[in-house]
C-alpha cells in the first residue's frame, strides 16, 4: 500500500475508534431515547381509545345501534383529538431535532380556515379547518410511523446499553464470584442485540469467559453510534418530510422568494456601493482637482505668484482632500470585503472586535472553515449586530461567540444593555432576510430592560 493509502486507513480507523465518544453520537443516542415516549404514547392512546370504543360497544344490549351511530362518532372524535394533538407533539419533536440533531425544521403555517383566517377552537370553521389541515395530517402520519421507528431507536439504544454493560463483566466478576471452591454457580448470561432477553446471547461461567463478554461489549460500543445514526437518519428524513411546512411546491415558492431576496439584495448592495463612491470619494477627488486647478492658476505660467498664502491654503486643502479620499476608499473597500476575512472568520472577528467602542468578549471555536460566502455573511451579521448593540443597547459589555458545530455555524451576540430590540425594525429584518437567503436562521430575545441575545445559525456551505 502506498503512503497516502496508509494515511487514509489511519484516518478512517481513528474516526471509527473515536465515533462512540463524539458529541454527535451522544446527542443522537439521546434523541433516539427522548423521542420514543411520544411515539409509543401517541399510538398507545390512539389504540387505547379505539379499544375503549370497542369494549364500550361490546356489552351494550343494543350493540347494533352502538356500532352504527356511536362508534363512528367516537372514532371521529378520536381522529379530531389526534389531529389536534399531532401539531403540538410534532412541535416537541421538531424542538428535539433542532436541539439534538441540529435539524432545523421551520414550523408549518398555522391552522387556517378556508378563507385564510386563523382558526381557533370555538370559532366557526375550526373543525373543518382541522380536517383540511395538511400539516396536521402529516404530523399524524409521522406520529403513527414514529412507533415502529421508536422501536428501532430503542433497539439502537440497546446497543449502547448492552455494550456498556458487557464491558463491565471482567471488573465485577472477581467481586461477585468469590464463593468457596466447589460451590455450583450457574453461568451468567451476556446480552447483545442478537439476544436481548431471557438467557442472553451466550453465557459465561469463568473469569476468562468474561473477556468474551468484554470483547462483545467493545464491538457493540464501536458499532452503536453507526446503528444509532442509521436509525436516526430515517427519523430525520421523516421529520423533514412530514413535520416541516413544506410540500415540494411550498419549498419551490420559498426558494423563489429567497432568490428574489438574493437578487434584490445584491442589486441594493451594488447601488449602495455606487452611491457611496458618488457621494464620497468621487466628490472629494473632484473638489481636490478643483483646488489644485485653482492653485495652479494662482501660481501662474511663470514668475512669482502674487498670492502665495492663498496658494498654500489651496494646496493644503487639496492635500487634506487626497488623504480623506484615500481613507474613504479604504473604508469602502473594507466594507465590500474585509481583507482579513481571507484568513478566516476567527481573525476577522478579532479585528472587528478590536475596533469596537464598547468592550467585546470574543470566543470562537471554528474547527471546520465555512465556505467564503458564509464567512462573509457571518462577518457582516456580526458587524451589524455589534454596531446595533453599541448604538442602541447602552451595554457595558458585549459577548460575541462564533462556534461551528457539525454543519452549522452559530453566531451569538449578547449584551447586558437595555434590550427592546425590534425584530421588525429595518436593521434586524434586513439581516434576517440576508440570513434566510442561505437557509440560515436568526433568533432574537430582547425583552424590554434587557438583556439582549441574538443567535444566528448559518449552514457551513451554501
Amino acid at each position: 500500500m502506498d503512503q497516502a493509502g496508509v494515511a487514509r486507513v489511519r484516518v478512517i480507523a481513528r474516526a471509527a475508534l473515536v465515533a462512540p465518544v463524539t458529541g454527535r453520537a451522544r446527542r443522537e443516542a439521546l434523541f433516539a431515547l427522548a423521542g420514543a415516549p411520544i411515539g409509543f404514547g401517541f399510538l398507545g392512546i390512539a389504540f387505547g381509545g379505539a379499544l375503549a370504543i370497542a369494549t364500550a360497544a361490546g356489552p351494550t344490549p343494543d350493540s347494533a345501534a352502538w356500532t352504527a351511530i356511536w362508534a363512528p362518532v367516537l372514532v371521529l372524535l378520536l381522529l379530531i383529538l389526534a389531529l389536534a394533538a399531532a401539531r403540538p407533539l410534532g412541535g416537541v419533536i421538531r424542538w428535539l431535532a433542532a436541539w439534538l440533531l441540529a435539524e432545523r425544521i421551520s414550523e408549518p403555517p398555522p391552522l387556517r380556515t378556508r378563507h385564510g383566517l386563523p382558526a381557533r377552537p370555538g370559532k366557526q370553521g375550526w373543525l373543518a379547518a382541522r380536517f383540511r389541515d395538511g400539516p396536521g395530517w402529516r404530523a399524524t402520519v409521522y406520529l403513527l410511523l414514529k412507533f415502529p421507528v421508536a422501536v428501532f431507536e430503542f433497539y439502537a439504544v440497546a446497543w449502547w446499553a448492552a455494550g456498556i454493560a458487557d464491558l463491565t463483566y471482567p471488573f465485577w466478576w472477581g467481586l461477585m464470584r468469590n464463593h468457596p471452591p466447589g460451590t455450583h454457580l450457574s453461568p451468567v448470561p451476556v446480552f447483545t442485540p442478537f439476544g436481548l432477553f431471557g438467557s442472553g446471547t451466550f453465557r459465561v461461567a469463568t473469569f476468562p469467559g468474561t473477556f468474551a463478554a468484554f470483547a462483545a461489549g467493545v464491538g457493540m460500543v464501536l458499532a452503536a453510534p453507526w446503528v444509532t445514526r442509521a436509525v436516526v437518519w430515517v427519523d430525520r428524513w421523516l421529520i423533514r418530510v412530514l413535520l416541516g411546512p413544506r410540500t415540494l411546491a411550498q419549498r419551490v415558492r420559498d426558494l423563489e422568494r429567497t432568490r428574489a431576496l438574493a437578487v434584490n439584495d445584491s442589486a441594493a448592495v451594488l447601488r449602495q456601493v455606487e452611491r457611496n463612491l458618488h457621494d464620497g470619494a468621487q466628490i472629494r477627488l473632484a473638489t481636490l482637482a478643483m483646488n489644485l486647478g485653482m492653485a495652479r492658476e494662482k501660481l501662474g505660467a511663470d514668475g512669482d505668484p502674487s498670492d502665495l498664502a492663498a496658494v498654500r491654503k489651496l494646496v493644503d486643502a487639496a492635500h487634506q482632500g487626497a488623504k480623506d479620499a484615500l481613507g474613504e476608499l479604504r473604508e469602502l473597500a473594507k466594507g465590500i470585503h474585509p481583507p482579513v476575512l481571507d484568513n478566516g472568520l476567527t481573525d476577522a472577528l478579532a479585528t472587528l472586535v478590536a475596533g469596537s467602542a464598547v468592550p467585546v468578549k470574543l470566543t470562537t471555536s471554528i474547527a471546520r472553515r465555512p465556505s467564503a460566502a458564509i464567512e462573509s455573511i457571518g462577518y457582516f451579521c456580526a458587524a451589524e449586530l455589534l454596531a446595533n448593540a453599541v448604538k442602541h443597547s447602552r451595554a457595558e459589555t458585549i459577548m460575541l461567540e462564533a462556534a461551528q458545530r457539525d454543519s452549522t455555524l452559530r453566531l451569538t451576540v449578547s449584551d447586558d444593555g437595555a434590550g427592546g430590540a425590534d425584530p421588525h425594525g429595518t436593521g434586524l429584518a434586513g439581516l434576517a432576510q440576508r440570513i434566510r437567503i442561505v437557509d440560515g436562521h436568526m433568533e432574537i430575545s430582547s425583552p424590554p430592560g434587557g438583556p439582549t441575545r441574538i443567535c444566528v445559525d448559518l449552514p457551513l456551505r451554501v
Binding site: R275, H278, D279, Q282, I283, R284, A286, T287, A289, M290, N291, L292, G293, M294, R296, E297, G321
Partner: protein, 212 residues
C-alpha cells in the same frame, strides 16, 4: 456674471462658490436641491445656473428636471448641468429645446479652472458647452451621417459641439482658421445642413448628432 449654484455636496458647493467669487462673479445663491433652485432663480434672475443632476430627495435626476423647467420658464438664463456621469439621454433631453444657453459637463472639468469658467461664460452668453465625453458617446453611437466624416472632421465637430468658435477650434487643433472653416463647411455638407445666414447651423450640427 450672476450665478446660482445647485449642488448637494457641501464641499463641492463651497469650492464652486469660492472659485467663481474669486474670478469676480457674483454667486447669488448656493442651494442643495431642485425646488430651492427654482425658487432661487425666480428670486435672483441670474445669468446662469450651475445644476447638479443628482440631488435630494430621490438622488436620481431631479437636477435635470429642474434644469428643464428653468429652460422652459426662463429662456434667457443659461443652464450648465454638472454631473459625475454623462448620460446621452440626459444630453438629448437638455438639447431638445435647442442648444442655446445649455451646458453639460462632467464635474471633473472644474480641475481646469479657466476652461470651466470659459464654458460657464459661454453658456451664460447663450452659447453651448458640451463635455467631450458627451461627444465621444455620441460618436460611439454612430449617428447616420456622422459615419461619413473624416477623423479630422470628427475632431472639429467634437470641439464645435463643446461650444467652441472657429478661432477656438483652430487654436486647439493648431490649424489655420481657413482650414477650420473648410472642415466646418464639409461637415455641414455631409450632415445635409443647408447654408444659412447665422451660426445656427453649428447648433444644428450638434443636434443632428443627437438625432433630435
Amino acid at each position: 456674471m450672476r450665478v446660482v449654484i445647485a449642488e448637494d455636496a457641501a464641499m463641492m458647493r463651497e469650492g464652486l462658490t469660492r472659485l467663481l467669487t474669486e474670478r469676480g462673479h457674483e454667486v447669488c445663491a448656493a442651494i442643495a436641491d431642485g425646488e430651492a433652485l427654482l425658487a432661487a432663480v425666480a428670486q435672483h434672475r441670474p445669468d446662469v445656473a450651475v445644476v447638479d443632476i443628482r440631488m435630494p430627495p430621490t438622488h436620481t435626476d431631479e437636477g435635470l428636471r429642474a434644469a428643464l423647467e428653468l429652460r422652459d420658464r426662463y429662456p434667457g438664463t443659461g443652464v450648465l448641468v454638472f454631473s459625475q456621469y454623462i448620460e446621452t439621454r440626459y444630453a438629448s433631453e437638455l438639447l431638445a429645446g435647442g442648444a442655446a444657453g445649455v451646458g453639460y459637463l462632467l464635474k471633473d472639468r472644474v480641475a481646469d479652472v479657466a476652461e470651466f469658467a470659459d464654458a460657464l461664460a459661454r453658456v451664460s452668453a447663450g452659447g453651448t458647452a458640451l463635455d467631450p465625453e458627451v461627444v465621444s458617446q455620441l460618436l460611439a453611437a454612430r449617428q447616420p451621417g456622422v459615419a461619413a466624416l473624416t477623423p479630422r472632421e470628427r475632431e472639429v465637430l467634437t470641439l464645435m459641439a463643446e461650444g467652441r468658435s472657429n478661432a477656438g477650434i483652430s487654436s486647439a487643433l493648431v490649424l489655420s482658421t481657413g482650414a477650420v472653416e473648410k472642415h466646418v463647411a464639409s461637415i455641414f455638407g455631409k450632415l445635409g445642413l443647408p447654408p444659412s445666414e447665422n451660426d445656427n447651423r453649428r447648433v444644428l450640427a450638434v443636434l443632428r448628432y443627437l438625432g433630435s
